[in-house]
Amino acid sequence: MPLLEIEDLHVSFKTIDGVVRAVEGVSLSLDARKTLGVVGESGSGKSVTAQTIIGLTRFPNATITGRVMFDGRDLVSMDADHLRAIRGARIAMIFQDPLSSLHPFFKVGHQIVEAIRTHEDVPRDIAKRRTIEALRSVGIPSPEERFDSYPHEMSGGMRQRAMIAMALALRPDILIADEPTTALDVTVQAQVLELIQALRDDFGTAVMLITHDLGVVAEMCDDVAVMYAGRVLEQAPREVLFDEPQHPYTWGLLQSIPRLDAPRTDRLSPIAGSPPSLINPPHGCKFNPRCPYTPPEALETEPPLAPAEPGHLVRCHLPVEERRRLWQSLRQEHPALR
Amino acid sequence: MKRRIAVLGLAAAALAFVAAGCGGGGSSSGVQGSSHTLTKGKKGGTITILSEGDIDHLDPGAAYYQFTYAITYVTQRPLLAYKPDSIQPTPDLAASMPTVSNGGKTVTVHIQHGIKFSPPVNREVTSADVKYAIERGFDAAVGNGYASAYFGVIQGAPTKIGNSVPNISGIATPDKYTIVFHLSKASGIFVAALQEPLTAPVPKDYAAKYDKGKSSSYGDHEVATGPYMVQNNAAGKITGYSPGKQIVLVRNPNWNPKTSWRPAYADKIVFKEGFDPTVATKQILSGQGDANGDFPPPAAQLKSITSNSSEKGQLEFTPTPGSRFVALNTQKAPFNNKYVRMAVAFILDRNAMRLTRGGPIDGKIATHFISPDFGKSGFDQAGGFGFDPFKTANNDSGDVGKAEAMLKKAGFKSGKYNGPQITQVADNTSPGSNTAAVVANSLQKIGFNVKTIPVQHSAMYTRFCGVPKNAPNICPNVGWISDFHEPQADLDANFNGKNILPANNVNWSQFNDPKINALMTKAETEINSEKRWQEWGQIDKLITSSAAAIPWIWENSPTLYSTRVTHGTELWNGGEPDVSFMSVK
């Protein structure tokens, strides 16, 4: 049984401009000790999905339906107090920008102590000792001194390590990492990802990694879901997704990965067009305005998320054989995709 | 209600006191409302007077402001003073009215025996103390505003003012109780001027040390002769005066009631300063204060009080001695032409001007300068209410036809003025600014294009209208309150050609008519009062007819009392409350 099971999740927000349908029928599952990558452009609903798991989108203007099953209980319908006991303690989350995600007026150590003492009734000095250990375990040098640092006194990488320390100080079952490396520079990115991997391995924490970067997914995920316009378009184990992707959007994403081994002359090919409006999404397949292959029925009806093979789900009107053929020819044209 | 203020307008709100009066019909003085009554009271208690601003100076030698006089006259005893219900002076420090001899050039006054200064001086007052008091009025360190005007006629009075007390040879003290003034010429108003606070005795032996230097500090150490004294300490330092906050009067232990006609009922009088007029009016009605000191109740409240039968009796109205007028610069075209001035007199909508100050509640439309409260001492002689040389229909609201006839006489064939633009310097705040707007509108009807320069009221006087080289064609917001009820005090400074000064000038019309100058010079020396008032009455008519300035309102001042006190309105002092006649019921 999966550790976390998202079933047909819908999240929408009433705004002055209209109803924003941020998540439309997403179902995902995460197993213990595994890493699930959720990929998509900004506005694809991946962050909203992640935040909804722990109830961070329960705004007065939000409508949330579906289920998020964790430990046999539905987090969507759970009352705020019970959910809060899970949040931070059993499901922790880290965010994109570690500078803005840490409170600028409080010392880093204090912010971690606060997290511990929120869930465990431990004396201040013990919480402090655990905080220092947590800081040490994420590789922060001289953690005793860093305990008293303010966020602005630390580098970006150190701050993200501190965030991870805060998230892991309570040994959660699940770590949701929402674009954890986007704001960091490349060398630091790698270190942070390694850290997350190491912690997963050491503590057995399941990781849900939200990212727009397939390169990151390639390095550490077991399963991958590709999201677009609040929907999952393709979902598969990592190897399958990278070797035999079947959705034109996934192809586009793969083409846009900067590859260190690719020839310099080979330009990045980002997907033409821009993400759709979530208030007035296009008719039919939501990707059809940007899809180079659009079959006629894609303008009329939205395709279902259907299995192409066992464990490989694709939301596309093109026949499976056609998709395979197109992918092979794409690979021929673009050596980078090999 | 204020002497200095009427002219200089130190405080905007203070000015308003003259502004809102009530009345407009009825009695010969033109005043409506409850009549002035004095009732017998009983000893004891505290009376509280509320005011918006402060007094000007405690020092009797420097005090020159009606509100200050409400304190000065109950703490100091000038040679003469007024009972509250009279406009004629009565002996106070003096034992009897002065005797005038030598064709008016010698004035002899005997002072009462046994009047003592308050602690710490404690000794008996002598004639030398009066002599010193007047002499120090000519010391710039004291800074008296009227010494030269009324006492400059004494032989030996200095014309150059320095920072020391001069010896004036014309003031003789043949014995401890006699003071003789030798005048360089007869003066019709000298005796009346002996009621000014400058004649209140000042002990030289005590005061001289405070009078040294550039600014006398005698006011902070003054001793009293009246029934009350400003609270002080054993050394004589005043402790009862916090400028802008309050003034506490207590009984003067050395005052002998047998020497005085003041009943002095209350034990203590507190002048509380710094009130907003609306709030203070309400506090008087509720009995937290007993009378208004330096402000008139605002017009809206006045109207509500006069229409409330239970409150009406708490209000008394007192005519202001003098008038507001529009001064025309007679030294400059076009108003150097008498007919152009007369055209202005005919066209000015005096009724609309009065409306800018509250309408009939503020007073009667003035038709000449000497105000009704002068009664037989000048007003009647000037023709009373019957004299209105520029009368027009609808309550003097102006007449284009009559004005155009005058302009035609002046050479404007069309009957419309077509000369260059003219200028007026006016108040930058209401109601003065509104009055000026009415003047400009009226003049426009006969072709004038009036440019209005708005400035602060006191700047209007001290920088423009009072400085002939800066004077505009029209000063629409000037006025004069007479220091006492002698027509000379009302007309001489404003219209005698000899009084045109390069600065601090109050002859705002710069009126210099040789014939009228001669008549005034003669009247100044007339010591027979009947003749003198007759002469000044004629002078008033002549000045009014010349249209050098156009008077437009004789104002009334309202005095409001709480129900816990008896009244004591000073008829002679613009309706200030006489606290020595008021009593707690």
């Binding site: 007065p60 949040r87 303690a89 | 402060d54 020159y64 014309t159 506090q283």
Partner: protein
């Protein structure tokens, strides 16, 4: 920090110099009344006006007058003497400071106690009925003229003049050293009146700042930690939202210590503001100069205090 403070103090002194100089220039250039003529009185002879002009030093060019003033100020901390009644400006201002300080500090406490909670309550439920009523009310309080508000409060709640005779009347102020009870009672209405507009303004500021802060990433982090919402708001939200408000409060206190003119006038609180008002109506330059200088001093001083305070409140700010 020490060097910074020294530098700031030097700047403050320079600023005060410039302010007094400008006051002198304004008085000299613009058509204000002639103080010598006012002091002498309307019936005075030119000789007297002339001598008084000399005595007041008004015959000298204004830069000489300014120099004399500065010398007196620097050497003896002498602010000169009123043209109107010859009283020492310094002692007049000092004697009025306790009233102004009482009014300001009390008013400050009232407006913070009302403004901050109202702002927080509104921010927690933006656009709710509650929020709309509170913010609508605050708009009324901001727009209501102090003078009008003062009169209404006196006619409703003051002893003597009020419908309900609860609190001290206008002019009932006594120094705290004289009678604490009466001091307090006399200041209740002035405090509330003074505080009304400020409370409303601070409520709106608090609301705006808090709503903005509650959208910050670190608030999301705090929630993700599992903190109670009340603690998220009171600790993480307010800590950031109130910092700019504390500094603004410092400035407002500085401004008011220079004199809360309208409140002092309507309630007859004998403070610096009323003194300033009288000085202006009397064209009393030394008194105007003194109050301007005092007002400027408090503003400059409050500025300095606020800047230093900011370094303690916001660890990101440092002064070198």
């Amino acid at each position: 920090m020490g060097a910074y403070i020294v530098r700031r103090v030097l700047w403050a002194i320079l600023l005060l110099l410039v302010v007094s100089f400008i006051t002198f220039v304004i008085f000299d250039v613009f058509p204000s009344a002639d103080p010598a003529a006012i002091r002498a009185g309307r019936n005075a002879t030119p000789a007297l006006v002339h001598q008084i002009r000399i005595n007041l030093g008004l015959n000298k060019p204004f830069y000489t007058q300014f120099w004399i003033y500065l010398k007196g100020l620097v050497e003896h901390f002498n602010l000169g003497y009123s043209y109107y009644n010859s009283e020492s400006v310094k002692s007049e201002i000092f004697s009025r400071l306790p009233a102004t300080i009482s009014l300001t500090i009390g008013g400050f406490i009232v407006w913070m106690l009302i403004g901050i909670p109202v702002g927080v309550v509104s921010a927690i439920r933006p656009r709710s009925i509650f929020d709309r009523v509170l913010m609508g009310g605050s708009l009324v309080a901001i727009s209501a003229p102090v003078y009008f508000l003062g009169l209404v409060s006196l006619f409703l709640f003051a002893k003597g003049t009020g419908q309900l005779q609860w609190f001290g009347a206008a002019g009932s102020y006594v120094p705290i050293s004289q009678n604490v009870g009466q001091w307090f009672n006399s200041l209740i209405l002035p405090w509330v009146t003074l505080a009304a507009a400020f409370a409303a303004f601070y409520a709106r500021m608090t609301r705006g700042n808090l709503i903005e802060t509650m959208n910050e990433d670190y608030i999301r982090t705090a929630r993700a930690k599992g903190l109670r919402e009340a603690k998220v708001i009171s600790k993480h939200g307010l800590r950031a939202a109130l910092t700019p408000i504390v500094t603004m409060a410092g400035m407002d206190i500085g401004l008011l210590l220079g004199g809360a003119i309208l409140t002092e006038i309507v309630f007859n609180v004998p403070g610096v503001g009323r003194y300033a008002y009288n000085a202006i109506t009397n064209s009393d330059l030394p008194a105007i100069q003194g109050t301007v200088l005092f007002g400027a001093f408090f503003i400059v001083f409050a500025n300095l205090v606020v800047d230093i305070l900011y370094a303690f409140l916001d660890p990101r700010v440092t002064y070198g």
